[in-house]
């Protein structure tokens, strides 16, 4: 394209262009699940602005309304449970508020999240439709083995059948959001045995046994 015609460039256009430039930089590399953005409910405009209180604790819904329907939330909760179930070390993603976080995420007014919104909403609808088609019940009402039968077909993009590629893209994004949502909770952080974020008198570096084990002594 030719250089922007500066004599016709309004302030609004300049700002719009810069926001687009920003969005392009921030966008995660996610292919669409064939979602038509026009068909989605409009989002409230405005985020937290350039100068939010950085020391506050925020919960999903504090800054913009959550927008998942009860049916979407039910499917999302069940899928969170499938991806990160409870085990001997930590609870499930569904137990520690990850579905609420994903609702916050897809309801956010920022470009990257708006892109994910299309993928996630369409993906959750696909999940229930697929469950109905194969087992005549919503995903949340399936038994574990039935859930696994669906998820095994979409859990890894290179191995997904052509008709399931887009669903696999949704699953990949949803798994990433579930993981990031989970491991940033106190329970998820404990699961990883992250022991930092506490003041120390001195920084001692790695334990000697580890240095020796890696041959770095």
């Amino acid at each position: 394209m030719t250089p922007i015609s500066h004599d016709r460039l309004s302030r609004r256009e300049a700002l719009k262009w810069m926001l687009t430039a920003m969005a392009t930089t921030a966008l995660l590399d996610v292919s669409r699940l064939g979602a038509d953005e026009e068909s989605l409910a409009p989002l409230p405009s405005g985020g937290y602005g350039l100068d939010p209180d950085l020391t506050k604790v925020y919960n999903p819904g504090d800054l913009w309304p959550l927008t998942m329907t009860p049916k979407e939330r039910r499917a999302a909760t069940a899928l969170c449970e499938t991806i990160i179930p409870a085990d001997g070390q930590s609870p499930s993603a569904a137990d520690v508020g990850v579905p609420q976080f994903i609702d916050e995420w897809i309801s956010a007014p920022y470009p990257a999240q708006v892109t994910d919104r299309a993928l996630v909403i369409e993906g959750l609808a696909w999940l229930d439709a697929e469950a109905q088609r194969r087992f005549t019940a919503d995903y949340a009402d399936l038994v574990h083995l039935q859930k696994v039968q669906i998820c095994d077909g979409i859990c890894y993009i290179p191995k997904a059948k052509p008709d399931y590629k887009r669903a696999a893209q949704f699953f990949r994004r949803f798994r990433d959001l579930t993981a990031g949502g989970f491991y940033t909770t106190p329970q998820g952080t404990k699961d990883l045995e992250y022991i930092g974020n506490v003041p120390l008198v001195s920084f001692e570096g790695p334990p000697l046994a580890l240095i020796q084990k890696l041959g770095l002594a």
């Binding site: 394209m1 250089p3 500066h6 004599d7 460039l9 309004s10 302030r11 300049a14 700002l15 262009w17 810069m18 430039a21 920003m22 930089t25 921030a26 985020g47 937290y48 350039l50 100068d51 939010p52 020391t55 604790v57 925020y58 504090d62 800054l63 991806i83 990160i84 179930p85 916050e104 956010a108 920022y110 696994v148 998820c151 859990c155 890894y156 993009i157 798994r175 990433d176 993981a179 990031g180 949502g181 989970f182 940033t184 106190p186 998820g188 990883l192 045995e193 992250y194 022991i195 930092g196 974020n197 003041p199 120390l200 920084f203 570096g205 334990p207 580890l210 240095i211 890696l214 770095l216």
Partner: protein
């Protein structure tokens, strides 16, 4: 109270300092400690790092798990408030919408500017970096040498507190004994890289960073920094005692409430305010520099952003420290009958030769770092080691297809979990989910290492900024139009970075997570993204070929001093902050002399 409103302006000041970041903070510090009366004008709001820094907040406490958004482009807990690329009502124009010619102009708008959020990586430029034209025939030499600036690097390091170590490496200067603080121990991933990179000829050494690994010596340093000035020594000694040492937690770019790292708001401004010589006015957007009938600067016109009202301030000298491109914009907008093309632009060089560090990244997964026993790897809120450029001789001998240096920074370890934790593992796990996925995340957490290059860009004719003829910001101030192009020098340098990073990852027994970009065109970070923009009002030995003299004084109007990165002739691979601080201190010393002599 030295925080003032426009109504409380004094009739005149010795010096008006525009901007409050590295250059503004250092200028105000040096000038007020030596007795000059200073007015500091900052376009952003007041900011108190002691009260506002999110020190222990986890990512889970923030909206969207603290990821970057257009409102907080560095992440939610980054210290920056009111700043970014897209500022409401404060546009700028890219001359082209070709993605490779795009420049992301990140502008902090807060007291302390970008020193609140920077990485604290504090490199000295080396002797070659001031005389690179003489070495390879490209760009220009600086009018000063390393020896001219070395005493100021010493002083800055002693004032702000920098940890590091001396290695006697080529063009990577040592500091004199007793200047640096001891560096922290490396993390396990840093140690592994250090060992394995040896085979590639790459030395990984402690990174100099402006973090107090121990408290500053308040008994020894003030006398060295302010000889013969009892008041300055007393103020500085008291302030050094009020700064805590690092407690090895929280990420430096959030800022530091215990004042353990350098930011203008925690190191420069408190003692400057304690002198009683500093008036500080925030939300003051400077529009232009005013002139006396004889063509000297008389002060500035600024807009109080809280009321939209215009005010004037008067001073014997004006120091520009609002950030390289913002300083250029102010000079270009200071048009008069005497200087119709802007102040300092008689030769048409104002706005020319802007640069940003050349950057690219590559991440590797390292099996040796999987499933390591838990231990605290937070450390000094950033990197502990880095690799300075190691191929000066090969470059000099013409063995490389690009002319200038880059250094390597990297991130490893089990850092505080973020939205990225457990993400993108499917290629390693064949898409696991369920209990297996939890086991996989435990295994891979902390096994990644991300290498990041920071290289020198050669200034070129096609990278410059000018005033847009039509667009104005919400205050009615004409905005900048930025032209930006890289050359093959930069693309080839990035290709070399990518190849080297892949070799380092392989040497560590790992696998790159992306295909290294051997063209350089895909991996190169967009202009402005590294936020090391410098140049535009370069200093020089003669008025014909530069905008300022070797002390930052505008040739045509010597009581205007460019103290920030705008004065850089070449960018070096070294991150610019420490050099900006040293240059600002040197310029302020010279300005004090001029004030005493009655020349300003």
């Amino acid at each position: 109270m030295p925080h003032i409103t426009p109504r409380e302006l004094k009739p005149t000041y010795d010096v008006i300092v525009v901007g409050s970041g590295a250059a503004g903070g250092q200028s105000a510090y040096t000038l007020t400690m030596e007795g000059a009366s200073v007015l500091m004008l900052e376009a952003g709001r007041n900011y108190d790092p002691v009260k506002e820094t999110p020190m222990f907040q986890t990512n889970g406490m923030a909206p969207l798990r603290a990821v970057e958004t257009p409102d907080k482009p560095q992440g939610f807990h980054d210290a920056t408030v009111g700043g970014g690329v897209a500022l409401p009502g404060e546009p700028y124009v890219n001359a082209s919408d070709d993605p490779e010619q795009r420049f992301l102009w990140w502008r902090p708008r807060m007291l302390g500017g970008r020193t609140n959020h920077w990485g604290r990586n504090s490199y000295r430029n080396g002797p070659y970096d001031f005389k690179s034209f003489s070495r390879d025939g490209l760009a220009v030499d600086w009018p000063i040498s390393y020896e001219d600036l070395a005493p100021y690097y010493d002083k800055v390091e002693m004032l702000i507190g920098v940890f590091g170590a001396n290695h006697g490496l080529e063009n990577t200067p040592d500091s004199p004994p007793g200047v640096l603080l001891p560096p922290p121990k490396p993390r396990i991933g840093e140690m592994l890289a250090q060992r394995r990179a040896q085979g590639l000829g790459i030395r990984i050494i402690p990174m100099p960073r402006a973090v107090l690994s121990q408290r500053l010596d308040h008994e020894r340093l003030p006398a060295k920094l302010h000889p013969g000035n009892a008041k300055a020594q007393r103020i500085l000694a008291a302030d050094m005692q009020a700064r805590a040492a690092c407690f090895w937690a929280t990420f430096c770019p959030r800022g530091c409430a215990i004042r353990a790292n350098y930011q203008s708001t925690t190191v420069h401004l408190p003692p400057a305010l304690a002198t009683g010589n500093l008036d500080l006015l925030t939300n003051a957007m400077v529009r232009e520099i005013t002139l006396t009938p004889t063509g000297r600067a008389s002060g500035v016109v600024f807009i109080d952003k809280t009321t939209g009202e215009e005010h004037r301030a008067t001073g014997r000298a004006v120091v520009l420290a609002g950030g390289s491109l913002e300083s250029v914009r102010l000079l270009l907008n200071s048009k008069s009958a005497r200087f119709p093309a802007g102040l300092g632009n008689t030769n048409g060089l104002l706005g020319r030769y802007i640069m940003d560090s050349v950057g690219s990244v590559l991440t590797g997964q390292i099996p040796l770092l999987e499933s390591l026993p838990p231990h605290n790897e937070d450390g000094a809120g950033g990197a502990h080691v880095y690799a300075p450029w190691w191929l000066y001789k090969e470059q000099k001998a013409g063995k490389l297809d690009f002319p200038r240096a880059y250094h390597i920074e990297f991130v490893s370890g089990k850092r505080m979990p973020s939205l990225g934790t457990g993400s993108g593992l499917d290629s390693l796990t064949n898409g696991s989910y369920g209990r297996q996925f939890k086991t996989d995340v435990r295994r891979y957490y902390g096994s990644f290492i991300t290498f990041s290059g920071r290289g020198e860009m050669i200034p070129n004719e096609k990278s410059f900024c000018e005033i847009d003829p039509a667009l104005k910001d919400r205050w009615g101030i004409p905005v900048l139009r930025i032209h930006w192009q890289r050359t093959e020098y930069e693309y080839r340098q990035v290709a070399h970075m990518q190849k080297t990073f892949a070799e380092m990852i392989t040497a560590m027994g790992g696998t790159p997570r992306q295909t290294p970009d051997l063209t350089g065109h895909k991996a190169i970070l967009p202009g402005g993204q590294v936020k090391h923009e410098v140049g535009g009002a370069r200093m020089g030995a003669e008025a014909r070929t530069s905008v300022t003299n070797a002390w930052g004084q505008i040739w045509d109007v010597p009581n205007v001093v460019v103290a920030d990165g705008a004065g850089f002739c070449t960018s070096a691979d070294k991150n610019p902050t420490l050099t900006i601080l040293a240059l600002a201190w040197r310029a302020a010393d010279h300005l004090l002399e001029e004030l005493r002599k009655g020349n300003a």
